[in-house]
Amino acid sequence: MTAAEIFGLCGAALVGVGVYGLVIAPEPLRKLLAFNLLGGGIFLLFGAVARRGAGAGLGGDPVPQALVITGLVVAVAATALAVALLLRLFEASGDVSLRNDPPPAPEPES
């Protein structure tokens, strides 16, 4: 067992927790947290891949590490957009449920 494998498996577990939360959590904010957990798990997978590629005097392959930095910034921008949408929806409707839009009113059909 190496550190890369341990954190790689930790990343895989986080992905599992994240997708479970995304599917099951009823509150949109919780879904957003789950998305961030999922993202964190994926970045750890990148980290594990980077650590396995250590060489040339570096503790890890710098390319996947740089990709994670890019990914983290994109993820926080996505979170900010989602939070803004969520709060705006709350203001506009007093509710933030993501249930289906109500099915169209049944039309009398003879």
């Binding site: 997708v19 949109p28 997978l45 891949v49 390319v63 921008a77 957009l81 989602a82 506009a92 059909e109």
Partner: protein
């Protein structure tokens, strides 16, 4: 290690294709006010010229244009590559953007001296960002650059959904954003694994380095499903109908015609350019099966919609299904994907849908603007008040149905050819059925629109002729797309597609209209007169039975679009795809 890649002549155009809209977007965001629209409109011809330059460059050299960014060749650096597929897509996208921009001027115009307002400012900036993101998706040779471009596309698309700020559209935008984000990170995790397996994210290098292994199988299934979620392939389409139907018409056109094509194109790249060495026979069949489900459910549920824009949105769900029928048809005997007629057919279908659907959404928007509503049963008389809009809808529908010489006709011929060549007659059947189903909603809408009104129709607002012409132009483009030949850009066996312009061909492609008419009678929404007439003809029982079936499909669709169900489908499909890819298999 492979030889160092170098830029080809004309490669700089690829940089411009991505960055011209980016520069315009940044300048527009900073300048604000009236400048936003001006900058956007000035960018349109320039972007169109770039797309033409790239296409002619590809045709002339007969090879992909390549640009090595920063002079750092892959695997360390990133290369842009435009093959014929990318060039063809960029060309069509540029045409659609141009027409949408002309159409949108009326909605998002800022008058001289007027203060800066929200919706126009946002719309033009978002349109430019979507254009840049799509071009980046088409020309990137690198999977991670593809990820950044996909996110750019999502961030451009989501605010378009809720541009009018109503609570329903905000909820639709939030659902879209959350589901699209899941799709993105599924794609991203695949990138991590493929880098771990191949030591690069460059598509061409990965294609040479990847061999079947558990890592590659897991990566491929996660990436594929992530992209399907962003493309809204049935049953992962929960976000599409409310998002596309609630947006302003110009935004709906952009979302439906353009945005979903980005993730679709990355699926094509992934399967044809990155993993051609991975046998994917069973998985390709699964993809096409989902496509077939989309065609049936999407089209039939479209028939049951009360509102025109929702009907068009559901027809997008169905059309997305069409795009995935090509995968099993492109398989060779050993279960590997070949770039040939089926791939050309799939790309042509995407091009045909982009043009036709943008035109149809714009036409639906104009009818909405004139009537103040878009209830299908309330469309009577609109054909007399707004003949051009109804004509646009009809032409777009006929083009999608596959009337020669439309792009959809050419696509269907190519796909049918591939189906019979590979002995997969069942996909041919689905293709033919799709034509009938498309005809059904076309007949339904046209029957309502051309009926005589009970009272003379007084349009609520005058519609500028230019807007109707922009929409009609797109629909006609789709109808005439098959005349282009396309053999220079797309891998078409025998060099070019025949436009199919014979009396016999025309007659053959009108048959679906008849079947579609029957379906529309049985399943569509009509006012009371029709059911009475049907009952008089002794067909009342048949219609009741059809309505029960239709109601069941609507119920099924409603269930599948619930969040937890869609989430479970996503996970289940991921596992199924993994299993199918692990099984490998040939057709």
């Amino acid at each position: 290690m492979s030889a160092v890649e170098v830029s080809t002549a004309g490669g700089t155009w690829l940089v411009l294709a991505i960055l011209l809209p980016v520069i315009a977007m940044l300048l527009a965001a900073a300048a604000g006010g009236r400048h936003v629209e001006r900058i956007a409109l000035a960018t349109v011809p320039a972007g169109l010229a770039v797309a033409i330059a790239i296409a002619s460059g590809v045709v002339e050299s007969g090879a992909p244009l390549v640009y090595v960014l920063g002079g750092w060749s892959p695997p360390l650096g990133v290369a842009l590559r435009a093959d014929g597929l990318a060039a063809a897509m960029m060309l069509v996208i540029a045409v659609v953007v141009a027409a949408v921009a002309l159409f949108a001027r009326a909605d998002f115009h800022v008058a001289a001296g007027a203060p800066e307002t929200r919706a126009p400012d946002a719309f033009w900036i978002l349109l430019l960002s979507i254009w840049s993101a799509l071009n980046a998706v088409f020309v990137t040779g690198d999977l991670f650059t593809g990820y950044v471009a996909l996110e750019l596309l999502t961030f451009g698309g989501v605010p378009l959904v809720c541009l009018d700020g109503r609570a329903e559209t905000l909820a639709a935008a939030l659902r879209y954003l959350l589901f699209a984000l899941v799709g993105s990170v599924f794609y991203l995790v695949g990138c991590a694994l493929l880098y771990g397996a191949g030591g690069t994210l460059d598509m061409a290098l990965l294609a040479a380095r990847l061999t079947p292994s558990p890592t590659v199988v897991v990566a491929a299934s996660l990436m594929t499903i992530g992209l399907l979620a962003k493309t809204a392939l049935f049953p992962l389409h929960l976000w599409l109908p409310p998002a596309h139907a609630g947006a302003p018409p110009a935004a709906s056109a952009v979302l439906s015609a353009l945005v979903v094509k980005g993730s679709f194109f990355l699926v094509v790249r992934l399967w044809f350019a990155v993993m051609p060495a991975i046998p994917g026979g069973a998985a390709a069949q699964l993809l096409a099966a989902l496509g077939a489900g989309a065609i049936v459910v999407g089209n039939l549920v479209a028939l049951r919609q009360e509102r025109l824009k929702l009907l068009v949105a559901y027809s997008t769900v169905a059309q997305i299904g069409y795009l995935f029928l090509m995968f099993p048809l492109a398989l060779d005997a050993s279960g590997r994907l070949l770039s040939g007629g089926a791939l050309a057919g799939g790309i042509l279908q995407a091009m045909a849908h982009a043009t036709a659907k943008a035109g149809m959404f714009m036409a639906a928007g104009l009818m909405y603007a004139a009537l103040g509503h878009d209830r299908i049963t309330g469309l009577r008389g609109i054909a007399r008040a707004q003949p051009l809009s109804v004509l646009t809808f009809a032409v777009g529908g006929l083009a999608l149905m596959g009337l020669p010489p439309s792009g959809a006709y050419a696509a269907k011929e190519l796909l049918l050819g591939a189906a019979s060549a590979s002995g997969q007659w069942w996909w041919g059947l689905v293709l033919q059925a799709g034509g009938v189903l498309t005809a059904a909603y076309l007949v339904l809408v046209l029957a309502h629109a051309t009926a005589a009104p009970d009272a003379p129709l007084a349009p609520r607002q005058a519609i500028a002729r230019g807007r109707e012409l922009a929409a009609l132009f797109l629909a006609l483009t789709s109808l005439l797309l098959g005349l282009g030949g396309w053999g220079a850009l797309l891998p078409i066996p025998g060099g070019s597609v025949s436009p199919g312009l014979s009396l016999d061909g025309l007659m053959k492609s009108l048959w679906p209209l008849l079947g579609g008419g029957v379906l529309a009678l049985l399943l569509g929404r009509w006012d009371e007169r029709l059911p009475r007439a049907l009952a008089g003809a002794g067909l009342g029982a048949l219609r009741r039975a059809a309505l029960v079936g239709g109601g069941a499909l609507v119920q099924l669709d409603e269930r599948l679009r619930r969040w937890p169900v869609a989430g479970l489908s996503l996970l289940l499909l991921t596992i199924l795809f993994g299993a199918a890819l692990a099984a490998g298999g040939s057709p």
